[in-house]
Protein backbone atom coordinates (compact mmCIF):
# COMPACT_ATOMS: atom_id res chain seq x y z
CA UNK A 1 0.00 0.00 0.00
CA UNK A 2 1.35 3.36 -1.01
CA UNK A 3 1.24 6.24 1.42
CA UNK A 4 -0.38 9.41 0.25
CA UNK A 5 1.68 12.54 0.67
CA UNK A 6 -0.43 15.61 0.24
CA UNK A 7 2.33 18.06 -0.36
CA UNK A 8 4.56 15.92 -2.55
CA UNK A 9 2.53 16.90 -5.58
CA UNK A 10 3.86 20.42 -5.18
CA UNK A 11 6.97 19.13 -6.90
CA UNK A 12 10.20 20.98 -6.48
CA UNK A 13 8.78 23.48 -4.04
CA UNK A 14 10.33 25.33 -1.14
CA UNK A 15 9.78 23.31 2.03
CA UNK A 16 11.38 25.71 4.47
CA UNK A 17 11.79 29.43 3.97
CA UNK A 18 13.41 31.30 6.82
CA UNK A 19 14.06 34.91 6.01
CA UNK A 20 16.28 37.08 8.19
CA UNK A 21 15.24 35.55 11.49
CA UNK A 22 16.16 37.35 14.67
CA UNK A 23 15.54 35.76 18.05
CA UNK A 24 16.43 37.25 21.37
CA UNK A 25 15.81 36.08 24.89
CA UNK A 26 15.20 39.08 27.17
CA UNK A 27 17.58 41.22 25.15
CA UNK A 28 20.25 38.53 24.64
CA UNK A 29 20.58 37.90 20.93
CA UNK A 30 20.52 34.18 20.16
CA UNK A 31 20.15 34.46 16.41
CA UNK A 32 20.25 37.36 13.95
CA UNK A 33 19.62 37.66 10.21
CA UNK A 34 19.47 33.89 9.83
CA UNK A 35 18.15 32.96 6.40
CA UNK A 36 17.77 29.50 4.95
CA UNK A 37 15.75 28.05 2.06
CA UNK A 38 15.30 24.32 1.75
CA UNK A 39 13.73 22.75 -1.35
CA UNK A 40 11.80 19.53 -1.34
CA UNK A 41 13.87 16.37 -1.38
CA UNK A 42 16.91 17.94 0.25
CA UNK A 43 18.76 17.09 3.41
CA UNK A 44 20.47 19.94 5.18
CA UNK A 45 22.82 19.78 8.13
CA UNK A 46 22.69 22.55 10.68
CA UNK A 47 26.19 22.70 12.11
CA UNK A 48 27.55 24.79 14.92
CA UNK A 49 28.87 24.71 18.45
CA UNK A 50 26.65 24.27 21.48
CA UNK A 51 24.97 27.58 22.13
CA UNK A 52 25.57 28.76 18.56
CA UNK A 53 21.84 28.99 17.96
CA UNK A 54 21.04 25.61 16.37
CA UNK A 55 18.40 24.76 18.92
CA UNK A 56 17.06 28.31 18.82
CA UNK A 57 16.67 27.94 15.06
CA UNK A 58 14.80 24.66 15.62
CA UNK A 59 12.61 26.24 18.26
CA UNK A 60 11.75 29.05 15.89
CA UNK A 61 10.85 26.53 13.19
CA UNK A 62 8.53 24.79 15.65
CA UNK A 63 6.97 27.96 16.98
CA UNK A 64 8.43 27.62 20.46
CA UNK A 65 10.09 31.00 20.27
CA UNK A 66 8.69 33.92 18.38
CA UNK A 67 11.26 35.65 16.20
CA UNK A 68 11.55 39.35 16.96
CA UNK A 69 12.06 39.84 13.23
CA UNK A 70 11.91 37.75 10.09
CA UNK A 71 9.49 35.36 8.46
CA UNK A 72 9.14 31.59 8.49
CA UNK A 73 7.16 29.73 5.85
CA UNK A 74 6.74 25.99 5.53
CA UNK A 75 5.45 24.67 2.22
CA UNK A 76 4.50 28.25 1.45
CA UNK A 77 2.21 28.38 4.49
CA UNK A 78 2.49 30.19 7.77
CA UNK A 79 4.02 28.08 10.50
CA UNK A 80 0.70 27.63 12.29
CA UNK A 81 -1.14 26.48 9.17
CA UNK A 82 1.71 24.15 8.29
CA UNK A 83 1.62 22.62 11.77
CA UNK A 84 -2.13 22.14 11.55
CA UNK A 85 -1.60 20.43 8.20
CA UNK A 86 0.79 18.03 9.98
CA UNK A 87 3.64 19.20 7.75
CA UNK A 88 6.32 19.45 10.44
CA UNK A 89 7.64 16.51 12.43
CA UNK A 90 10.19 16.80 15.18
CA UNK A 91 12.42 13.85 16.02
CA UNK A 92 13.79 14.55 19.50
CA UNK A 93 17.18 13.71 20.92
CA UNK A 94 17.10 10.42 22.77
CA UNK A 95 18.16 12.23 25.94
CA UNK A 96 15.11 14.49 25.87
CA UNK A 97 12.56 11.70 26.27
CA UNK A 98 11.46 10.02 29.48
CA UNK A 99 11.89 6.35 28.60
CA UNK A 100 10.28 5.14 31.81
CA UNK A 101 6.98 6.54 30.55
CA UNK A 102 4.40 3.73 30.36
CA UNK A 103 3.87 3.64 26.60
CA UNK A 104 4.67 1.03 23.97
CA UNK A 105 6.39 1.49 20.61
CA UNK A 106 2.97 1.29 18.97
CA UNK A 107 1.57 4.01 21.27
CA UNK A 108 4.42 6.38 20.45
CA UNK A 109 4.09 5.93 16.69
CA UNK A 110 0.32 6.37 17.01
CA UNK A 111 1.03 9.81 18.52
CA UNK A 112 2.11 10.81 15.03
CA UNK A 113 -1.51 10.36 13.97
CA UNK A 114 -3.08 12.46 16.74
CA UNK A 115 -3.11 15.63 14.68
CA UNK A 116 -5.19 13.92 11.99
CA UNK A 117 -7.69 12.32 14.37
CA UNK A 118 -10.83 13.77 15.92
CA UNK A 119 -10.48 15.46 19.29
CA UNK A 120 -10.97 12.25 21.28
CA UNK A 121 -7.99 10.73 19.42
CA UNK A 122 -9.71 7.45 18.69
CA UNK A 123 -7.69 5.64 16.02
CA UNK A 124 -9.44 4.62 12.82
CA UNK A 125 -8.44 1.75 10.59
CA UNK A 126 -6.45 4.14 8.39
CA UNK A 127 -4.48 5.35 11.43
CA UNK A 128 -3.63 1.80 12.43
CA UNK A 129 -2.50 1.07 8.89
CA UNK A 130 -0.32 4.17 8.82
CA UNK A 131 1.31 3.14 12.11
CA UNK A 132 1.78 -0.41 10.89
CA UNK A 133 3.48 0.71 7.68
CA UNK A 134 5.65 3.22 9.47
CA UNK A 135 6.84 0.50 11.84
CA UNK A 136 7.52 -1.77 8.90
CA UNK A 137 9.68 0.86 7.26
CA UNK A 138 11.89 1.21 10.34
CA UNK A 139 11.89 -2.57 10.92
CA UNK A 140 10.31 -2.40 14.34
CA UNK A 141 7.08 -4.28 13.74
CA UNK A 142 8.11 -7.27 15.84
CA UNK A 143 8.82 -4.98 18.80
CA UNK A 144 5.63 -2.93 18.56
CA UNK A 145 4.20 -4.08 21.89
CA UNK A 146 7.40 -3.47 23.81
CA UNK A 147 7.54 -0.65 26.39
CA UNK A 148 9.87 2.01 25.00
CA UNK A 149 12.07 1.72 28.08
CA UNK A 150 13.25 -1.73 26.95
CA UNK A 151 14.55 -0.51 23.58
CA UNK A 152 18.16 0.12 22.58
CA UNK A 153 19.31 3.60 21.54
CA UNK A 154 18.96 2.78 17.86
CA UNK A 155 15.51 1.26 18.29
CA UNK A 156 14.41 4.35 20.18
CA UNK A 157 15.58 6.57 17.36
CA UNK A 158 13.72 4.39 14.84
CA UNK A 159 10.55 4.60 16.92
CA UNK A 160 10.54 8.37 16.64
CA UNK A 161 11.39 8.25 12.94
CA UNK A 162 8.39 5.96 12.52
CA UNK A 163 6.25 8.52 14.32
CA UNK A 164 7.34 11.17 11.81
CA UNK A 165 6.54 8.77 8.95
CA UNK A 166 3.12 7.97 10.41
CA UNK A 167 2.47 11.68 10.67
CA UNK A 168 3.23 11.97 6.92
CA UNK A 169 5.16 15.13 7.53
CA UNK A 170 6.96 16.73 4.60
CA UNK A 171 9.47 18.55 6.79
CA UNK A 172 11.47 16.60 9.35
CA UNK A 173 13.51 18.27 12.06
CA UNK A 174 16.07 15.89 13.53
CA UNK A 175 17.96 16.83 16.67
CA UNK A 176 21.34 15.07 16.99
CA UNK A 177 20.00 11.93 15.27
CA UNK A 178 23.31 10.06 15.25
CA UNK A 179 23.93 10.06 19.00
CA UNK A 180 23.98 6.59 20.52
CA UNK A 181 22.83 4.86 17.35
CA UNK A 182 24.08 1.43 16.27
CA UNK A 183 25.38 0.49 12.83
CA UNK A 184 22.18 -1.25 11.79
CA UNK A 185 20.10 1.81 12.60
CA UNK A 186 22.57 4.06 10.87
CA UNK A 187 22.32 2.00 7.67
CA UNK A 188 18.55 1.99 7.95
CA UNK A 189 18.54 5.75 8.42
CA UNK A 190 20.69 6.20 5.32
CA UNK A 191 18.20 4.13 3.32
CA UNK A 192 15.21 5.93 4.84
CA UNK A 193 16.72 9.33 4.07
CA UNK A 194 17.23 8.23 0.45
CA UNK A 195 13.54 7.27 0.27
CA UNK A 196 12.46 10.49 1.97
CA UNK A 197 14.30 12.47 -0.69
CA UNK A 198 12.53 10.55 -3.44
CA UNK A 199 9.22 11.20 -1.73
CA UNK A 200 9.99 14.90 -1.74
CA UNK A 201 10.36 15.30 2.00
CA UNK A 202 13.01 17.60 3.35
CA UNK A 203 15.13 17.02 6.39
CA UNK A 204 16.93 19.46 8.60
CA UNK A 205 19.51 17.84 10.86
CA UNK A 206 20.93 19.71 13.81
CA UNK A 207 24.24 18.21 14.83
CA UNK A 208 27.83 18.79 15.77
CA UNK A 209 28.85 15.45 14.27
CA UNK A 210 30.76 16.55 11.18
CA UNK A 211 31.49 13.12 9.74
CA UNK A 212 27.80 12.24 9.55
CA UNK A 213 26.96 15.56 7.95
CA UNK A 214 29.38 14.78 5.15
CA UNK A 215 27.83 11.37 4.71
CA UNK A 216 24.13 12.25 4.91
CA UNK A 217 23.61 15.88 3.96
CA UNK A 218 23.42 17.44 0.49
CA UNK A 219 23.48 20.89 2.00
CA UNK A 220 25.00 22.35 5.07
CA UNK A 221 24.36 25.54 7.00
CA UNK A 222 27.10 26.70 9.35
CA UNK A 223 25.65 28.47 12.33
CA UNK A 224 27.16 30.86 14.79
CA UNK A 225 24.48 33.30 15.94
CA UNK A 226 23.61 33.61 12.24
CA UNK A 227 23.96 31.50 9.09
CA UNK A 228 27.65 31.98 8.31
CA UNK A 229 27.65 29.90 5.15
CA UNK A 230 25.05 27.83 3.35
CA UNK A 231 25.33 25.63 0.27
CA UNK A 232 26.42 22.26 -1.05
CA UNK A 233 28.21 20.28 1.59
CA UNK A 234 31.34 19.76 -0.51
CA UNK A 235 31.69 23.48 -1.16
CA UNK A 236 30.88 24.68 2.33
CA UNK A 237 32.83 22.14 4.31
CA UNK A 238 36.21 23.79 4.00
CA UNK A 239 38.65 24.00 6.88
CA UNK A 240 38.46 27.82 6.69
CA UNK A 241 34.68 27.82 7.05
CA UNK A 242 34.80 25.32 9.88
CA UNK A 243 37.40 27.35 11.73
CA UNK A 244 35.14 30.36 11.34
CA UNK A 245 32.16 28.42 12.66
CA UNK A 246 33.85 26.81 15.58
CA UNK A 247 35.97 29.83 16.50
CA UNK A 248 38.81 29.02 18.88
CA UNK A 249 37.98 25.37 18.65
CA UNK A 250 40.00 22.40 19.90
CA UNK A 251 42.53 21.42 17.20
CA UNK A 252 41.67 17.70 17.31
CA UNK A 253 38.19 18.46 16.03
CA UNK A 254 39.63 20.44 13.16
CA UNK A 255 42.11 17.77 12.19
CA UNK A 256 39.25 15.29 12.43
CA UNK A 257 37.35 17.26 9.83
CA UNK A 258 40.31 17.62 7.52
CA UNK A 259 40.95 13.89 7.64
CA UNK A 260 37.44 13.51 6.26
CA UNK A 261 38.62 15.25 3.12
CA UNK A 262 40.37 12.07 2.09
CA UNK A 263 37.92 9.71 0.33
CA UNK A 264 37.14 6.18 1.46
CA UNK A 265 37.81 6.98 5.07
Amino acid sequence: MKDNYRSVSLGNCLRIEADQLCVDYNGNVALYDASLDLRSGCICGLVGMNGAGKSTFFKALMGFVRPSRGIIRINGLSLQSAQRAQAVAYVPQNECIDYSFPVSVWDVVMMGRYGSMNSLRIPRESDRKAVFHALERVELNDLRHRPIGTLSGGQRKRTFLARAIAQRASVLLLDEPFNGVDIRTERLMAELFRQFKQEGRSILISTHDLSHVREFCDLVALINKTVLAYGNTSEIFTPENLTMTFGGMPPDLLSGTTSLESPDE
Binding site: Q80, Q83, F101, P102, V108
Partner: protein, 289 residues
Protein backbone atom coordinates in the same frame (compact mmCIF):
# COMPACT_ATOMS: atom_id res chain seq x y z
CA UNK B 1 -18.64 -23.40 63.35
CA UNK B 2 -15.57 -21.22 62.96
CA UNK B 3 -15.79 -21.78 59.19
CA UNK B 4 -18.95 -19.77 59.21
CA UNK B 5 -18.05 -17.35 61.94
CA UNK B 6 -15.21 -15.71 60.03
CA UNK B 7 -17.13 -14.84 56.85
CA UNK B 8 -20.03 -13.71 58.99
CA UNK B 9 -17.75 -11.46 61.02
CA UNK B 10 -16.26 -10.03 57.83
CA UNK B 11 -19.73 -9.49 56.45
CA UNK B 12 -20.91 -7.57 59.47
CA UNK B 13 -17.59 -5.68 59.55
CA UNK B 14 -18.50 -4.41 56.10
CA UNK B 15 -22.25 -4.15 56.42
CA UNK B 16 -22.80 -2.80 59.91
CA UNK B 17 -21.45 0.71 59.16
CA UNK B 18 -23.69 0.84 56.11
CA UNK B 19 -26.73 1.04 58.38
CA UNK B 20 -25.73 4.60 59.27
CA UNK B 21 -26.62 7.38 56.89
CA UNK B 22 -23.42 9.35 57.69
CA UNK B 23 -21.28 6.28 56.96
CA UNK B 24 -22.94 5.55 53.64
CA UNK B 25 -22.34 9.13 52.70
CA UNK B 26 -18.72 9.12 53.91
CA UNK B 27 -17.96 5.92 52.05
CA UNK B 28 -19.52 7.20 48.86
CA UNK B 29 -17.77 10.56 48.93
CA UNK B 30 -14.42 9.03 49.88
CA UNK B 31 -14.53 6.49 47.07
CA UNK B 32 -15.53 9.19 44.61
CA UNK B 33 -12.78 11.59 45.68
CA UNK B 34 -10.34 8.68 45.74
CA UNK B 35 -11.26 7.73 42.18
CA UNK B 36 -10.97 11.26 40.84
CA UNK B 37 -7.66 11.97 42.52
CA UNK B 38 -6.39 8.53 41.47
CA UNK B 39 -7.07 9.41 37.84
CA UNK B 40 -5.36 12.78 38.16
CA UNK B 41 -2.41 11.32 40.08
CA UNK B 42 -1.28 9.49 36.94
CA UNK B 43 -0.69 12.79 35.19
CA UNK B 44 0.89 14.35 38.27
CA UNK B 45 3.48 11.58 38.66
CA UNK B 46 4.22 11.27 34.94
CA UNK B 47 4.54 15.02 34.47
CA UNK B 48 6.72 15.30 37.58
CA UNK B 49 4.28 17.65 39.27
CA UNK B 50 4.37 16.17 42.79
CA UNK B 51 5.81 19.35 44.26
CA UNK B 52 3.35 21.39 42.21
CA UNK B 53 0.53 19.27 43.64
CA UNK B 54 1.76 19.97 47.14
CA UNK B 55 1.98 23.67 46.37
CA UNK B 56 -1.46 24.00 44.82
CA UNK B 57 -3.20 21.95 47.49
CA UNK B 58 -1.81 24.23 50.20
CA UNK B 59 -2.38 27.38 48.19
CA UNK B 60 -6.12 26.74 47.81
CA UNK B 61 -6.59 27.20 51.56
CA UNK B 62 -6.99 31.00 51.64
CA UNK B 63 -9.27 30.63 48.63
CA UNK B 64 -11.55 28.29 50.53
CA UNK B 65 -11.64 30.63 53.52
CA UNK B 66 -12.36 33.72 51.43
CA UNK B 67 -15.07 31.89 49.50
CA UNK B 68 -16.77 30.80 52.73
CA UNK B 69 -16.57 34.32 54.08
CA UNK B 70 -18.12 35.77 50.93
CA UNK B 71 -20.74 33.06 50.70
CA UNK B 72 -19.37 31.78 47.39
CA UNK B 73 -18.91 28.11 46.52
CA UNK B 74 -15.57 27.04 47.99
CA UNK B 75 -14.53 25.64 44.61
CA UNK B 76 -14.47 29.14 43.13
CA UNK B 77 -12.04 30.41 45.75
CA UNK B 78 -9.92 27.28 45.48
CA UNK B 79 -9.75 27.58 41.74
CA UNK B 80 -8.71 31.24 41.78
CA UNK B 81 -6.03 30.74 44.42
CA UNK B 82 -4.80 27.42 43.02
CA UNK B 83 -4.26 28.73 39.51
CA UNK B 84 -3.12 32.09 40.90
CA UNK B 85 -0.41 30.47 43.01
CA UNK B 86 1.02 28.72 39.97
CA UNK B 87 0.91 31.90 37.92
CA UNK B 88 2.74 33.65 40.76
CA UNK B 89 5.34 30.85 40.93
CA UNK B 90 5.93 31.21 37.18
CA UNK B 91 6.16 34.99 37.43
CA UNK B 92 8.65 35.03 40.32
CA UNK B 93 10.76 32.32 38.70
CA UNK B 94 10.95 34.28 35.48
CA UNK B 95 11.68 37.64 37.06
CA UNK B 96 14.18 36.60 39.71
CA UNK B 97 17.27 34.43 40.01
CA UNK B 98 15.73 32.20 42.69
CA UNK B 99 15.49 28.51 41.70
CA UNK B 100 12.11 26.98 40.93
CA UNK B 101 11.78 24.56 43.87
CA UNK B 102 12.63 27.40 46.24
CA UNK B 103 9.98 29.60 44.64
CA UNK B 104 7.39 26.82 44.88
CA UNK B 105 8.13 26.28 48.57
CA UNK B 106 8.10 29.98 49.22
CA UNK B 107 4.79 30.68 47.49
CA UNK B 108 2.79 27.80 48.88
CA UNK B 109 3.86 28.32 52.47
CA UNK B 110 3.04 32.01 52.03
CA UNK B 111 -0.44 31.18 50.77
CA UNK B 112 -0.95 28.59 53.47
CA UNK B 113 0.07 31.05 56.16
CA UNK B 114 -2.36 33.57 54.70
CA UNK B 115 -5.07 30.92 54.95
CA UNK B 116 -4.28 30.26 58.61
CA UNK B 117 -4.37 33.94 59.44
CA UNK B 118 -7.66 34.39 57.60
CA UNK B 119 -9.23 31.42 59.38
CA UNK B 120 -8.32 32.85 62.76
CA UNK B 121 -9.86 36.18 61.75
CA UNK B 122 -13.08 34.75 60.24
CA UNK B 123 -13.31 31.96 62.76
CA UNK B 124 -17.04 32.04 63.38
CA UNK B 125 -18.28 29.75 60.59
CA UNK B 126 -15.22 27.78 59.51
CA UNK B 127 -13.73 24.84 61.31
CA UNK B 128 -9.97 24.93 60.85
CA UNK B 129 -9.70 21.26 61.75
CA UNK B 130 -12.17 20.42 59.02
CA UNK B 131 -9.99 22.10 56.40
CA UNK B 132 -6.67 20.84 57.72
CA UNK B 133 -7.62 17.23 58.34
CA UNK B 134 -10.85 16.67 56.43
CA UNK B 135 -14.03 15.16 57.80
CA UNK B 136 -15.88 12.87 55.42
CA UNK B 137 -18.07 11.74 58.30
CA UNK B 138 -19.57 15.19 58.78
CA UNK B 139 -19.96 16.43 55.23
CA UNK B 140 -22.88 18.78 54.63
CA UNK B 141 -25.47 18.43 51.89
CA UNK B 142 -24.25 21.54 50.15
CA UNK B 143 -20.64 20.35 50.20
CA UNK B 144 -21.77 16.98 48.93
CA UNK B 145 -23.53 18.34 45.86
CA UNK B 146 -20.65 20.67 45.11
CA UNK B 147 -18.16 17.84 45.42
CA UNK B 148 -20.27 15.72 43.09
CA UNK B 149 -20.40 18.48 40.51
CA UNK B 150 -16.65 19.18 40.62
CA UNK B 151 -15.77 15.50 40.53
CA UNK B 152 -17.97 14.99 37.50
CA UNK B 153 -16.43 17.97 35.70
CA UNK B 154 -12.84 16.97 36.43
CA UNK B 155 -13.42 13.38 35.33
CA UNK B 156 -15.17 14.49 32.14
CA UNK B 157 -12.34 16.88 31.23
CA UNK B 158 -9.62 14.37 32.02
CA UNK B 159 -11.35 11.68 29.99
CA UNK B 160 -12.03 13.87 26.97
CA UNK B 161 -8.44 15.14 26.87
CA UNK B 162 -6.92 11.88 28.09
CA UNK B 163 -4.77 11.27 25.00
CA UNK B 164 -3.73 14.89 24.58
CA UNK B 165 -2.71 15.11 28.22
CA UNK B 166 -0.74 11.90 27.97
CA UNK B 167 1.07 13.27 24.92
CA UNK B 168 1.60 16.58 26.71
CA UNK B 169 3.24 14.78 29.64
CA UNK B 170 5.30 12.50 27.41
CA UNK B 171 6.48 14.79 24.62
CA UNK B 172 5.18 18.38 24.70
CA UNK B 173 7.43 19.33 21.80
CA UNK B 174 5.70 16.88 19.49
CA UNK B 175 2.30 17.96 20.78
CA UNK B 176 3.17 21.51 19.90
CA UNK B 177 4.60 20.67 16.49
CA UNK B 178 1.41 18.92 15.36
CA UNK B 179 -0.65 21.96 16.27
CA UNK B 180 -1.96 20.94 19.71
CA UNK B 181 -2.41 23.88 22.07
CA UNK B 182 -0.06 22.95 24.91
CA UNK B 183 -0.72 26.14 26.87
CA UNK B 184 -4.37 25.15 27.06
CA UNK B 185 -3.41 21.65 28.23
CA UNK B 186 -1.10 23.11 30.87
CA UNK B 187 -3.89 25.20 32.34
CA UNK B 188 -6.38 22.38 31.98
CA UNK B 189 -4.17 20.14 34.09
CA UNK B 190 -3.61 22.95 36.54
CA UNK B 191 -7.35 23.62 36.88
CA UNK B 192 -8.02 19.93 37.38
CA UNK B 193 -5.35 19.94 40.07
CA UNK B 194 -6.86 22.92 41.93
CA UNK B 195 -10.37 21.47 41.77
CA UNK B 196 -9.27 18.00 42.82
CA UNK B 197 -7.31 19.47 45.72
CA UNK B 198 -10.45 21.16 46.96
CA UNK B 199 -12.58 18.00 46.76
CA UNK B 200 -9.71 16.04 48.29
CA UNK B 201 -9.58 18.28 51.29
CA UNK B 202 -13.13 17.16 52.14
CA UNK B 203 -11.94 13.67 52.89
CA UNK B 204 -8.29 13.81 53.94
CA UNK B 205 -7.76 17.52 54.55
CA UNK B 206 -5.38 20.01 53.06
CA UNK B 207 -2.23 18.62 54.65
CA UNK B 208 -2.62 15.11 53.32
CA UNK B 209 -4.36 15.82 50.03
CA UNK B 210 -1.08 15.74 48.14
CA UNK B 211 -0.85 12.03 49.01
CA UNK B 212 -4.10 11.45 47.13
CA UNK B 213 -2.59 13.30 44.17
CA UNK B 214 0.60 11.26 43.87
CA UNK B 215 0.55 7.95 45.76
CA UNK B 216 -2.00 6.06 43.61
CA UNK B 217 -0.18 7.14 40.44
CA UNK B 218 3.18 6.09 41.86
CA UNK B 219 1.77 2.70 42.92
CA UNK B 220 0.21 2.07 39.51
CA UNK B 221 3.42 3.17 37.79
CA UNK B 222 5.27 0.33 39.54
CA UNK B 223 2.70 -2.20 38.36
CA UNK B 224 2.44 -1.65 34.63
CA UNK B 225 4.01 -0.32 31.45
CA UNK B 226 0.72 0.58 29.79
CA UNK B 227 -0.79 4.00 30.28
CA UNK B 228 -4.44 2.89 30.21
CA UNK B 229 -3.78 0.12 32.70
CA UNK B 230 -1.90 2.55 34.93
CA UNK B 231 -4.92 4.88 34.95
CA UNK B 232 -7.26 2.05 35.85
CA UNK B 233 -5.00 0.69 38.59
CA UNK B 234 -4.55 4.13 40.11
CA UNK B 235 -8.31 4.75 40.21
CA UNK B 236 -9.06 1.35 41.69
CA UNK B 237 -6.30 1.41 44.30
CA UNK B 238 -7.17 4.95 45.32
CA UNK B 239 -10.91 4.30 45.66
CA UNK B 240 -10.21 1.05 47.51
CA UNK B 241 -7.81 2.75 49.95
CA UNK B 242 -10.39 5.43 50.63
CA UNK B 243 -13.12 2.89 51.39
CA UNK B 244 -10.86 0.77 53.56
CA UNK B 245 -9.58 3.88 55.33
CA UNK B 246 -13.10 4.96 56.24
CA UNK B 247 -13.94 1.47 57.54
CA UNK B 248 -10.78 1.33 59.62
CA UNK B 249 -11.43 4.76 61.05
CA UNK B 250 -14.96 3.66 61.98
CA UNK B 251 -14.01 0.42 63.67
CA UNK B 252 -10.86 1.58 65.39
CA UNK B 253 -12.02 5.12 66.03
CA UNK B 254 -9.04 6.80 64.35
CA UNK B 255 -8.62 9.87 62.20
CA UNK B 256 -10.18 9.21 58.78
CA UNK B 257 -7.78 11.17 56.56
CA UNK B 258 -4.79 9.60 58.24
CA UNK B 259 -6.28 6.13 57.84
CA UNK B 260 -6.95 6.61 54.12
CA UNK B 261 -3.46 7.88 53.37
CA UNK B 262 -1.85 5.16 55.51
CA UNK B 263 -3.67 2.47 53.53
CA UNK B 264 -2.52 4.12 50.29
CA UNK B 265 1.05 4.22 51.52
CA UNK B 266 0.87 0.56 52.55
CA UNK B 267 -0.37 -0.41 49.09
CA UNK B 268 2.50 1.53 47.59
CA UNK B 269 4.98 -0.30 49.83
CA UNK B 270 3.52 -3.65 48.80
CA UNK B 271 3.92 -2.68 45.13
CA UNK B 272 7.42 -1.41 45.85
CA UNK B 273 8.37 -4.80 47.30
CA UNK B 274 6.34 -7.24 45.21
CA UNK B 275 5.42 -5.59 41.89
CA UNK B 276 5.82 -8.18 39.10
CA UNK B 277 8.47 -6.31 37.16
CA UNK B 278 9.59 -3.39 39.29
CA UNK B 279 9.27 -4.75 42.84
CA UNK B 280 12.65 -4.91 44.54
CA UNK B 281 12.14 -8.38 46.04
CA UNK B 282 10.84 -9.89 42.82
CA UNK B 283 13.73 -8.40 40.88
CA UNK B 284 16.22 -10.04 43.21
CA UNK B 285 14.45 -13.32 42.81
CA UNK B 286 14.68 -13.16 39.03
CA UNK B 287 18.31 -12.12 38.95
CA UNK B 288 19.34 -14.91 41.33
CA UNK B 289 17.47 -17.65 39.49
Amino acid sequence: MSDIALPLATFSWVSEPLSHEFMRRALFISALVGGVSGLLSCYMTLKGWALMGDAVSHAVMPGVVVAYALGLPFSVGAFVFGVGSVALIGFIKQKSRVKEDTVIGLVFTGFFALGLVLVSKIKSNIDLMHILFGSPLGISNEDLSQTLFIAFMVVALLLVFRRDLMLYCFDPTHARSIGINTVFLHYLLLSALSLTAVVGLQTVGIILVVAMLITPGATAYLLTDRFDRMTLLAIVSSAFSSLLGVYISYWFDIETGGAIVLVQTLIFLIAFLFAPRYGILINKHISSS
